[in-house]
Symmetry: C2
Subunit: 227 residues, 2 copies
C-alpha cells in the first residue's frame, strides 16, 4: 500500500515501520481524511521538545536554563522543521486533499513541519522512545553540531539590540503595561516596541524576565521576516 515516495522516505528516516499504517497517518493532512496527522503532531511536538531538550541539557552542562530554552526554540520552530522536511523530500510522500494539492500545500512550511512532528510520534508509537530518540538525533545531527557557541551565551535583549544596531535602526523601548497579583506573587506585562513593527507583549513573574521574553518574541518576528 506504500507509494514509492513513502518507501523512499522510510529509508531516509532509517526506520522500517512495524505498523505502516502509522506512517500513512503521519503523512495524511487534515484536508485528505478525518484520520489525519493532527493528533500525532500533538504528541510529536512534545517528544521533539523533550528529546532536543535532553540533548542540550546533557551536551551543554554549563549553559543556563534561559540559553537552553532559546536554543531549543530555534531548533524546534516551524521553519527549521520545514527545512528538515525538505531534506527528507517529505513533500512527495504527503497525502493531501484536492484543494491543498492544487494550491501547492506540499510546499507550505506549516504542513511540512506538522508532518515531521507527526512522523516523530509515529516512530515513537511504532518502536518506543529509544528508536524515536535515535531518529530525532539523526535528523538534528548537523544542527546540533553546528550550534554557534558565540551566539549561545547572549540574552534576547542583548541580541535584539545588536540586531537593530547592525541595521542602524532605533533601539527598542520596553514598557510595563500591567502589574497584577498579590505582592508575593506578582505578574508583569511588558510591551516591547520596535520601530516599524507591531508591539509585542509578554508576561512573566518578574519585570526582567518579561522584558527578555518580549525581546525574544520581537527578535523571532524580525528574524522570521528575514528568512
Amino acid at each position: 500500500m506504500m507509494t514509492t515516495a513513502q518507501k523512499r522516505l522510510e529509508q531516509r528516516l532509517g526506520h522500517t515501520f512495524n505498523r505502516p499504517a502509522l506512517l500513512q497517518q503521519a503523512l495524511t493532512h487534515r484536508s485528505a481524511a478525518s484520520e489525519n496527522n493532527e493528533r500525532l503532531e500533538f504528541l510529536g511536538d512534545s517528544l521533539l521538545n523533550f528529546i532536543i531538550g535532553e540533548a542540550l541539557f546533557k551536551g551543554f552542562g554549563r549553559l543556563p536554563e534561559g540559553d537552553l530554552s532559546r536554543i531549543r526554540a530555534h531548533l524546534v520552530k516551524g521553519d527549521t522543521l520545514a527545512e528538515i522536511a525538505r531534506e527528507l523530500d517529505l513533500s512527495d510522500a504527503l497525502i493531501l486533499g484536492g484543494g491543498e494539492l492544487k494550491s501547492g500545500g506540499y510546499r507550505r512550511n506549516s504542513i511540512l513541519a506538522d508532518a515531521v512532528e507527526a512522523l516523530i510520534a509515529a516512530v515513537y508509537l511504532d518502536a518506543g522512545m529509544d528508536a524515536c530518540r535515535d531518529l530525532v538525533l539523526r535528523l538534528y545531527d548537523q544542527r546540533l553540531q553546528n550550534l554557534d557557541p558565540r551566539k549561545m551565551g547572549k540574552d534576547p535583549k542583548t541580541r535584539l539590540q545588536e540586531w537593530l544596531q547592525k541595521r542602524r535602526e532605533p533601539l527598542p523601548e520596553y514598557e510595563v503595561v500591567n502589574v497584577s497579583g498579590p505582592a508575593h506573587d506578582q505578574t508583569f506585562d511588558v510591551v516591547c516596541k520596535v520601530a516599524g513593527q507591531p508591539p509585542v507583549q509578554a508576561r512573566a513573574g518578574s519585570r526582567r524576565k518579561a522584558e527578555q521574553l518580549a525581546a525574544e518574541k520581537a527578535l523571532d518576528r524580525l528574524e522570521g521576516d528575514n528568512d
Copy 2:
C-alpha cells in the same frame, strides 16, 4: 545530609533516590546557590509536557488535537503545579536564599511550580523514563480522572463567548492586524479585544487558528485573574 522534610518528601514522591544530590539540587532555588534547580526545571518541563501529552493522547482517542493541547495547558500550568507542590508539602523541603526566605518565597507559586518540574527531571535522571512516568501519573492521578468531558469538546472562541455571556459582559472582537509571508505560506496576526482587558495578540498560519489562539490567551488571562 537530608533534612526530615526532605525525607518526608521523598516518601510522598514514592521514589527513593539513588543519587540524593539530585533531590537536593531540585529543591535548591537560585537564591541559595549557583548549583540550583533551573536547568532541571528546563528538562522537567519538557518531560511533564510529554508524559501528560502521552496520557491524554492514549486516554482520549477521539479528542482532536486542539482539545488535547488545551487540556494539557491547564494541567501543566504554574497554578496547577503549585497546587501539587502544596499537596506534597514541598515548601518545607525547599532550599532558599536568605532574602527569599524572609519574604516568604516558599509560598510563591512560581518557586513551588519550578521545584515540582525540577523534581520530575531529577527522578528521570535518577531512574529513567518509566520511573518518571509513574511519578507524574501518580501526581496527576485525580486530576486526570476528574477531567470534565463537557468542557473538553469546546473550542476557545466558544468558551470565551460563554464565559463573557455568563457574566453579562460584551462579546469579544477579533481583528486581523497583519498578514505577512508569500501567498502559499501566509501568517496571520489577530488581536482579540475583551472589554476592560489589555488586547491579546496571536499568530498562526490561518485566520481561524490565530483567532482561536487569541481567544485561548484571553481566556487564560480572565480565568487566571479569577483563581
